[in-house]
Symmetry: C2
Subunit: 327 residues, 2 copies
């Protein structure tokens, strides 16, 4: 098993991708990592570490796609980038998956363009793992497709069900359609049409509302990528807002320093479920390969989990199961 890692993806490269790769190698002895990026930069950074040289390979890719590059232009204009070369290596079976904390749009574009779609898939999607009181659940689409066709909701539901079951280990995943009310007639035409088509799925529970996400009344939250992206980023912002509010309350109450620390510790522990580092990243579902993207600010821990998550997708043959489910 070889997982290719974008050595120049995210806000902290090459430090974090390389540190995360080395942590992943230490954790899973069956794993090999292929670092993709400017060879000299990678070699210089690797000098900091002791690691199993037989399990860490390097693929030179001199160009760097930045977080600000427009996706289409980046993929076309930088054919020697880590993303283009890494995805191509995956296409040529030189590795089993490609992961990056870099430019999501560019990675999605390259994945669709180079790897192509799985048989039967209309449109690949980004499925985000969303923190709930029951643990991580799936929100999809999280930003890949701003507008959907009704039948795309159904495919997303089918792909999400597989992922929730296999990777999130939810035994019988339930699916809900994010809407402005529970009744079937709620929403715009697109939502009513999607509701009708989704009703053919045995695990479709109907419409859900914004207030159903955190209590996880279902396990797969279906949405267009516009609303999904806003819901995703709003969720990511809870912990910081909350820590600010609690800190302010404690200061104003004149609590002792030690008590303040204790409360902050409880809060941090409680919000652990909101920490994306533990899931590492999210897959592009529906592409003919395993391509995953992590948060731009990914820590070494997040990168490690991104790599291990990709390895699990390979091991569990997620894509074979998706293809079977869509037939």
């Amino acid at each position: 098993m070889i997982i290719a890692v974008d050595a120049v993806g995210g806000d902290h490269f090459p430090e974090n991708p390389i540190a995360g790769a080395i942590e992943a190698l230490a954790e899973d002895k069956n794993l090999k990592v292929l670092l993709v990026g400017p060879e000299e930069m990678i070699k210089t950074e690797l000098e900091k570490y002791n690691y199993d040289k037989d399990r860490l390979l390097i693929q030179d890719a001199p160009q760097i796609i930045t977080m600000d590059d427009s996706p289409a232009a980046a993929v076309k204009g930088k054919p020697q980038s880590s993303i283009a070369i890494g995805i191509a290596a995956h296409k040529q079976n030189k590795c089993d998956a490609f992961v990056s904390a870099g430019n999501t749009g560019a990675l999605l574009a390259a994945s669709i363009f180079i790897l192509g779609k799985l048989p039967g898939v209309q449109r690949p999607t980004i499925a985000a793992t969303y923190p709930t009181i029951k643990g991580f659940r799936l929100l999809m689409d999280a930003g890949a497709n701003l507008e959907l066709k009704p039948e795309m909701y159904v495919q997303f539901a089918q792909m999400g069900t597989i992922y929730a079951k296999e990777i999130l280990e939810v035994s019988e995943p339930k699916v809900g359609l994010l809407n402005v009310g529970e009744e079937p007639e709620k929403g715009a035409d697109i939502h009513r049409e999607a509701f009708t088509l989704l009703s053919a799925l045995p695990n479709f529970e109907g419409n859900i509302e914004g207030g159903d996400i955190l209590p996880a009344t279902v396990d797969v939250f279906l949405s267009d990528g516009f609303t999904g992206n806003i819901v995703l980023k709003l969720g990511e912002s809870f912990p910081e807002a909350l820590q600010y509010l609690v800190g302010k309350t404690m200061k104003e109450s004149g609590l002792e320093e030690s008590t303040q620390k204790m409360v902050a510790g409880i809060l941090q522990k409680s919000l652990r479920t909101f920490n994306y580092e533990h899931v590492g990243g999210v897959p592009f579902m529906g592409v003919n390969g395993i391509s995953m993207v992590g948060h731009g600010g990914s820590s070494p821990l997040a990168i490690k989990n991104l790599i291990l998550n990709a390895a699990r997708c390979v091991e569990l043959k997620i894509n074979d199961k998706i293809v079977a489910s869509l037939q």
Copy 2:
């Protein structure tokens, strides 16, 4: 000043609307309240209280629009409902505003149908007060218009600016367009077109993302009603989810009962800003009158604040200011 109150609106009628009305009368001695609903039911409930009878009037309205009634059918099919009669009384200048914790859709439909639109307004909107680390800010549309035209964003921005300044007391309100990224070209066609039109407003700060809401990087968050409604309900669900997570963490840590209570108290105080009771409700902006809706679960405190908020809208001549701003 007479504020009409729907005595049979919300999940807890007539108890909560009437209790809230009496609290409002106690707080503002210049206020009169007109309770609208089935006369006998109101009179029976009023027997529980001591109050200034000169300042509490009753308008009989024998029909009740339930929370489940479809808006259009309710307004047409129940012409003797508290909502229809209350809004009509406002139209006839028998009161200065109408407030209800009842069926939002029915109240919006009745408000538009009976009161009409303010001069120059394309479409009235629901502006929700959204909790942020800086206090309440405005999210609009919060569910009245699922799909918008580009020019509607501009009017919402103008109306929201007035409300944020006058009622939320933000000295120089800034406006942002909720989108999937900050760059002007982000989003679908509708968002790019809205961005272009909004750029003519002096207080438009550009696109904002889901993560900009809680830190309140701007004061008026513009959105279509579909995304807005989901964002609103997601926000309302934070406190409960959080209290659950913190409670669970504390139990698992085996903290002493007294410490658990102390932490729960700090949390509750910190989340005070998320408590809709303190704003009471939200106005339908753009209708030719003052019509406000509260949460279905409104407590007496929430109803009281809903009434006082409506009174402030009247006093501050919000609608005159909106008309002037749209010219």
